[in-house]
């Protein structure tokens, strides 16, 4: 697979952020070693994230999205997983080369993460104030009680929690779902990190709260300039809140580019198929379009394109050789032998 960072694709969108990326991932590989063999969960992924930008990472279950997110903060399940190369550059430092202790000082401070179910992310036995205090003191033990309290209040205000003084004394079970999310957001943003990874933060929520939550993230981004990596399988969420999107399939990024370009002009048949399988308002079809077959087992991959088996446009070459990433137009690129002709074009 070609190194995306050397293509114009990785140079960032003109006009977005400061131009120099806050996070740069180069050829990242995370393999899982299990009794059943080696699973290449993340297999040569490269992308970058600019300041103030939201990058969506989309793919179906088992495509390696979550493993990618965990790899970035080095919290993949031990001892099964191992990093097998690549770099994660945050402000010039390679996170993969740091000691665990050093990495701990970065987690939650420079690179934060919101987990799949923010509702469950609060410890039921402690008050909100107690947990916020902990999130703050983990990185600054010398902070006085007064200063910690001020910071806690500021963090709650930053996510627009009404009556923050009272909330500090509340326990998680006394709060609504939306409130809990805001508080989890406040904890993640307490140190104004440069990068925020949100791993399916909206999957467990109903649609109205989803929208609220995405707006909250946008709001935080506008004020702090945090770069957000939004992991999801929902193109609706991508369309609503991302600047760029990377489509993952079987451990690799098969296409990435600005949201509009991906939606209007998908250059990888998998992206196209994903877009097709969305439910559409106004559509009268009783059944949703689905992609035939199963994603390949990540234990035993062919040298060719991993989507070839399920692809209705596959040629013989697709099964033999993995396609290089072709630059379509500036930051838009796709890894498909036929991305230039794109016989699946949307009319």
């Amino acid at each position: 697979m070609s190194d995306l960072s050397s293509t114009p694709l990785a140079q960032g969108r003109a006009g977005t952020g400061s131009g120099s990326p806050v996070l740069e991932v180069k050829d990242l590989r995370t393999y899982l070693y299990t009794r059943w063999g080696v699973t290449k969960a993340v297999d040569g992924v490269s992308f970058h994230l600019d300041r103030g930008e939201t990058l969506g990472i989309v793919g179906e279950s088992g495509s390696g999205k979550s493993m990618l997110a965990l790899s970035l903060v080095r919290l993949t399940p031990e001892p099964a997983s191992r990093n097998e190369g690549g770099q994660v550059l945050l402000g010039g430092r390679d996170l993969l080369a740091l000691s665990e202790k050093h990495m701990r000082a970065i987690r939650g401070k420079e690179i934060s993460m919101i987990l799949q179910d923010p509702q469950q992310s609060l410890n039921p036995v402690f008050s909100v104030g107690n947990q916020l205090r902990e999130a703050i003191q983990v990185h600054d033990r010398s902070l006085s009680g007064e200063a910690t309290r001020d910071r806690s209040l500021a963090a709650l205000k930053s996510v627009r929690v009404p009556a923050p003084e009272r909330r500090l004394r509340s326990f998680p079970h006394q709060l609504s779902g939306g409130m809990k999310q805001r508080i989890v957001g406040a904890m993640a943003m307490a140190y104004q990190p440069q990068v925020l990874i949100a791993d399916e933060p909206t999957t467990a929520l109903d649609v109205t709260i989803q929208a609220q939550y995405l707006r909250l993230l946008e709001d935080l981004q506008e004020r702090t300039g945090v770069g957000i990596i939004l992991i999801t399988h929902d193109f609706g969420v991508i369309a609503e809140s991302c600047d760029r999107v990377a489509v993952m399939y079987a451990g690799r990024i098969v296409e990435q580019g600005p949201v509009a370009a991906i939606f209007d002009n998908p250059r990888h048949p998998y992206t196209r198929a994903l877009l097709e399988s969305r439910p559409k308002a106004g559509s009268r079809k009783a059944r949703l379009q689905s992609i035939e077959g199963q994603p390949p087992s990540l234990n035993d991959l062919s040298p060719g394109c991993r989507f070839a088996e399920r692809c209705s446009y596959a040629m013989s070459r697709c099964e033999e050789e993995y396609p290089p990433t072709v630059v379509i137009d500036g930051p838009h690129g796709a890894a498909c032998w036929r991305s230039e002709e794109a016989p699946w074009a949307i009319n």
Partner: protein, 314 residues
Amino acid sequence: MSLRNPPRPAGGLPGTETSDVDELGRHRRRNMLRWARRSNRPPWLSIFIVLFVLVLPALLANLITVHDPLRGVLGDRLTPPAWMEGGSTTYLLGTDKQGRDILTRIIFGARISLTVSTLTILIGAVVGSTLGLLAGYFGGWIDRLVSWMIDTFLSLPHVLLALVIVAAIGPSFVTIIAIIAVTIWASFARQVRGETLSVRETEYVARARVAGAPPWRILLRHVLPNIANTLIVLATLQVGVVILEESSLSFIGAGIPRPNPSWGVMVADGRDQILTSWWVSFFPGLAILLVVLSLNLLGDWLRDFLDPKMRQRG
């Protein structure tokens, strides 16, 4: 049954009319509700017994007794309890064959039971919880080692082990505490390990990890407080187990050395006179029974009370 539920008139099978069926259903539901509420009410009798047979006597033994627990009045040997013929109000529960007051010895025995159970449970809980937390959280070889140790210790025959150790180094207060602590740490370790395994997978632990918290902090701040309920319940239930074990060991002579008034020793001492002077064995035995039973009931109630799911309903 309250007065608002007048007894069903005699004659005629219940449920022959629809209104009767309704009435019966409502009645049954109300009874069930009352049951549910009752099971949630603190077991006052158990608390009372634990307090007045175990805790207060142990703490105030010197203040509330007039006799010497170790030296008796030989002339008053085997005096029956006060309410029996030949009994005397000086010795409320009678005396043993050395003329020592049974009540006094039971009161001082409570002190031994409480000390032994507190110390062994403290040691067992600290050692067991630490190993359980480490095993459950880190897994891998630590888990394998600790689990192997738990299985081994739980399968050791305690009494035999105690006899061997006592035979080798002689009975003493320290020996019995060591023996019991060795036998109970494993139940704490097993319970804590299991709970840690489940708490470890929760989102809030994952969140703490993502926020950069080191493992010891996660264990102390997130895992331990969430399993504290279980620990409290287990510790309460174990008090009964320890008292029983100490009494058993003392009974066979492998426990608290004579002439200390352990309840188990007292029961053993009365064996020879069980047919003529039953009170020598009976009252310490009754103390063991009441205290252990009450502690178990208390532990059961505590388990329900501390369960957040049960509390929300109440």
